[in-house]
């Protein structure tokens, strides 16, 4: 069961990511990215991270991608012209990507002591507690300050987004 689910949703992930590269219209790329993120949520579930699976769907596949599709529609972005990267991309970029992938794959495949994921196992150091309980105990005791600081970051991001996206003309009329 675990193997089948992993193969199916890893396939969805890779197919969505490849489709993101092949599509020329941004809205098609956005839909492919939603497929990738939703499949990743299933993979988080397989790895025993229930809370992150829900957050992935709500935050990434929901909020962030809605923002992307809104901007694509707002700017009326059409098809892109293909130039296949800049001048440096072809001779340097693609060999570098292949080298990075080869190095990563070699390190991963040669790593000793990597375990296996059991379905429904999750984190075994607290077997009778749900993932959410364990996570919130650490998040709200030990890491409370970083959590609160992130709320300030989000507030600043909202203000920055509003300030950046506002027209200059509105500013002048507001000043009057």
């Amino acid at each position: 069961m675990h193997l089948i689910l992993f193969v199916v949703f890893a396939g969805f992930c890779l197919a969505g990511a490849i489709n993101l590269l092949l599509q020329s219209h941004p809205i098609n790329s956005a839909v492919s990215l939603i497929v990738v993120m939703t499949s990743l949520a299933v993979l988080y579930l397989l790895l025993g991270a229930e809370f992150l699976a829900a957050a992935q769907i709500i935050v990434y596949a929901g909020a962030v991608m809605v923002l992307f599709t809104f901007v694509v529609m707002l700017l009326n972005a059409g098809r892109e012209e293909r130039t296949l990267g800049g001048r440096a991309a072809l001779p340097i970029g693609f060999p570098a990507v292949v080298a990075i992938l080869a190095v990563l794959a070699t390190v991963i495949l040669r790593a000793q002591g990597l375990g296996v994921a059991h379905l429904g196992q999750g984190l075994t150091n607290a077997p009778d507690k749900s993932n959410l309980v364990v996570l919130s105990q650490v998040l709200f005791h030990e890491l409370l300050l970083p959590f609160e600081v992130t709320s300030v970051l989000i507030l600043i991001a909202i203000l920055g987004a509003v300030a950046l996206a506002r027209r200059d003309g509105d500013e002048r009329t507001a000043a009057k």
């Binding site: 890893a10 956005a30 296949l84």
Partner: protein, 106 residues
């Protein structure tokens, strides 16, 4: 054999994460639309998140999952600011093609 017991080795998850990251880099290099370039960055962030969750499963460390939670929050803030910048660029230059936004090019 672990295949017969239907367990998936964690290295497969890491390989998937590496493949998604490489596809994100390729998208960053070949896409010419600012929004799609930004989507490739999101894809790379997601790939790294997957490896964080995998290592959290490997070491039974819940802090790996919490780190993913923080990455998600920062990515949401980053998406809001980045898309606002893209809208401002579109207003100033009336284009989304990365080749035509060359004001700072030598």
């Amino acid at each position: 054999m672990s295949f017969l017991q239907n367990d998936v080795p964690l290295s497969w998850y890491l390989l998937l994460s590496a493949a998604l990251f490489a596809l994100g880099i390729v998208g960053f290099l070949i896409k010419r639309n600012l929004i799609t370039v930004f989507m490739s960055i999101e894809l790379m962030l997601n790939a790294v998140n997957l490896s964080f969750v995998t290592f959290a499963c490997q070491w039974n460390a819940v802090k790996g999952q919490i780190f993913v939670f923080f990455v998600m929050m920062v990515a949401a803030a980053e998406a809001a600011v980045g898309l606002a910048i893209i809208i401002a660029v579109f207003r100033a230059r009336a284009t989304l093609a990365a080749d035509r936004i060359d004001l700072m090019k030598l």
